[in-house]
Symmetry: C2
Subunit: 578 residues, 2 copies
Amino acid sequence: MPSSVKALGQPRSSSPGMVPNTCCCTSAAVRRRLPVLAWLPNYSLQWLKMDFIAGLSVGLTVIPQALAYAEVAGLPPQYGLYSAFMGCFVYLFLGTSRDVTLGPTAIMSLLVSFYTFHEPAYAVLLAFLSGCIQLAMGFLHLGFLLDFISCPVIKGFTSAAAVTIGFGQIKNLLGLQNIPRQFFLQVYHTFRSIGETRVGDAVLGLVCMVLLLVLKLMRDHVLPLHPEMPPGVRLSHGLVWVATTARNALVVFFAALVAYSFEVTGYQPFMLTEETAEGLPPVWTPPFSMTTCVYHLFSLASENNYRIDANQELLAIGLTNVLGSLVSSYPVTGSFGRTAVNAQSGVCTPAGGLVTGALVLLSLAYLTSQFHYIPKAALAAVIIMAVAPLFDTKIFRTLWRVKRLDLLPLCVTFLLCFWEVQYGILAGALVSLFLLLHDVARPGTQVSEGPVIVLQLASGLHFPAVESLREAILSRALEVSPPRCVVLECTHVCSIDYTVVLGLSDLLQDFHKQGASLVFVGLQVPVLRVLLSADLQGFQYFSTVEEAEKYLRQEPGTQPYHISEDSLPEHKVALLKA
Amino acid sequence: MPSSVKALGQPRSSSPGMVPNTCCCTSAAVRRRLPVLAWLPNYSLQWLKMDFIAGLSVGLTVIPQALAYAEVAGLPPQYGLYSAFMGCFVYLFLGTSRDVTLGPTAIMSLLVSFYTFHEPAYAVLLAFLSGCIQLAMGFLHLGFLLDFISCPVIKGFTSAAAVTIGFGQIKNLLGLQNIPRQFFLQVYHTFRSIGETRVGDAVLGLVCMVLLLVLKLMRDHVLPLHPEMPPGVRLSHGLVWVATTARNALVVFFAALVAYSFEVTGYQPFMLTEETAEGLPPVWTPPFSMTTCVYHLFSLASENNYRIDANQELLAIGLTNVLGSLVSSYPVTGSFGRTAVNAQSGVCTPAGGLVTGALVLLSLAYLTSQFHYIPKAALAAVIIMAVAPLFDTKIFRTLWRVKRLDLLPLCVTFLLCFWEVQYGILAGALVSLFLLLHDVARPGTQVSEGPVIVLQLASGLHFPAVESLREAILSRALEVSPPRCVVLECTHVCSIDYTVVLGLSDLLQDFHKQGASLVFVGLQVPVLRVLLSADLQGFQYFSTVEEAEKYLRQEPGTQPYHISEDSLPEHKVALLKA
């Protein structure tokens, strides 16, 4: 999982053909919008070979996954395939990363399932509308909004979604029927009807899971191909590589074969997939009038879990969704798992998507009638194995060790997501924001007491912090008798606003009234400029704490700096002694 | 105006009797909740004299103002007086400042006017409900929420309110009739029917305004009483002091006298105040069932414009409103103008409020039948002179000079407040928050280019900033050829969260892949501890930029520090060379 996050987070890591955009003006702007222009002119045969292999690998992964995710979304299986090819073609032109693949994902399918009510038209409309919103966000450069969704929130959300999706497949794995979709009801009814487990489904499902697990472990431990290996070793290595990479397709094919054999004998021990409409998807105009679900899209739009070059990625995903809606796609996004497959297969450019897309279209054209024989238990195994890595158990331990406070947004998101996904994310994001604002509004201070109090601000000083700072200073310095002088150390303050200026001005007056002094130390130039321009009564500043303390102890020969606003140079302070 | 803000902002400036709460535990807690316990035991005859004079001054100001503000709120004049005494008594016990006086204010009356529909019952309910909300906020210590309303927002709001209120009195000043209440319509209709000005009202109104202005100027320039003055001079000074301090009462009394004289002659050239119900207010239970206006209260609750010791002040105002609603008060808050009068009259403790409250009750008991003779133009003059100082023209100039960016929330609030007050404040607060979050999400950096890039963070590093920082570093260091090394100077970073840690870890991997280095300099102990606990691959840090640069230029003898997390002392880093 971390590795796939990395892969998604690396659109800028230049692949051989990705020329860094060092030249400026229009051509650079066009190239930034159409990254294809950067790598296509340098395309080579070697890259073609690598891209072909990678595209094939991804294609053999996406076909069984798409069929399975359609079930998660509550749609007929072919809708998964309808959603799986447009992203490949669009990303070819607009993609900023060679690794990322767009298509149906488990989490997006879960989100879609809340709004489809088993009616594909809603899902297609959803794709169109969310595509429009994503395009608008991309064009308006609103991608920065995603910066405000912190990592713990994303982790909490994906972990909760993994549990929800994974548990939702237990019923298919065991052949249980009439289980409701709502998570808590599902848990209750699944355990209640565990006695009705169908032996055939359960055995097949578990076998598929074990097979997938073994192949995955082999995949992780197989040695990379090496030119110096003897041909025999290379061949066997290559075979293992193909089998393990295309393991989803293999397992589903094996399961379908078993089911077909039983079908021929006239006895069917497995729950099979619904009948699939044959052929390519119908091209149509989405039903614009059904706007009941517009509201929910804002939550959808913020739930994508890639994080980089957000605006261009939003454009790519948005266009995919809008064009996809014309061919009956439901909303798609970047897939963690297949992006990792892509990277591991050594993809060089987004051109690998062409192969993937073609493979999906071919399967739609020629294989749809065979999909009926795929047992649901096999698809459930595919889904469970795909979402299992998304449940990140380590994150709880890591956060406990690294930053305990971040467990709060994580747990809030994780727990609330079981109740209602968008509330979970919203609540988590708000908790994150609250922690952030608390940091800003109550900055740490280091106080060294003495005849003169030295108070050092640990970070910046923004308007919500000024009243609490004022109270802290007043209670320490002026609410004791006799009143004490204060040195305010502002090295870490890089800018201040008018509310802060006003608060400091009030403070200076408070000190003046009580016959004590408040002096400033370590002011950065922009801060000094603002304070000088505000013409504060009794404003005195020194370059070091020692000097300030000396002055406040009224030792002779120490005077605060006097400087006029006009004489402040741009980048450094030419401090003049008065 | 600045002086009255100061006075409101000074609850902690200890008056002679306000003992600083240096002792702790329960007695201190009780004393913080009931500040009266701190000053009452030390009450002296000298204070009694000063408080009596100040209470009288405030009383003579509040009676005419209360009658006038009731008009602003769209209520019969006696409701202003009903609202004017409870705050005096409550603040006596709960008040943290000797200067502040609670009662009807122009701005609160404007806000109330939007929800009363000329039906006093709504206004009384509003007092009860807003009191409950304020009490709840005070008990839950939600006063910190007011920290997030910045000064420019408050200034924009009060300035817009001053214009709205002041312009709303032009019709009374000129004797115009049938002018709608909505601001823009009011402006239009006032100018359209300017030809229907009634001479009597206009002359009286202008005379009252000139009188008030002259008396105010005299007040500002009269010499303070001095014990060494000869008795004759002291007497005349005293008279001037009384006349100028009670100028509102004087002018209203004079205008009423003129109107009464005309009434006796049988010709009435002035619009007079509506008939006033006689006697003390009826004590009743507020109509709990009318909850239509609950929604609007949240905006009301945040519109109070005092800023200090917010929780205790909220308790005092909340209790005043709740108890006030039992005697037909409409919502009250701290008054800028009368707080200034109080301070200038030399008040020593909140006991001055007793005199003010008694005066209001006496006027209600014995003067209400005379209120009918007060011309509306005279009250309009009182209002206009009271709100004129709230319109702060200097703030635009000051902000232009000191901090131009803060003009944005100011102008947004100021302009939108004419359309709808709560939208204005909400929009202004959001703009403030947005500027704050922008500062946090896009912190400034200082970059010094060279063979090694040194990037200094100007302030803290929070999660929304990490992606943009990463992009900035990648585009400078790794998207050029050959890749360059980076020194990240973190002196000003005092804490980091897990999202930042993850972003830095990704960055380190990016650098590692390209064969370049990213090293850290100037890490504060808490930050270093978090980074060490996260076990980042390739994490290296130095104490100075020079050392880091030397190491990156691969000069011999320079090594990054190595230190284990366990050996980190609590307050300083014992750095060990590897």
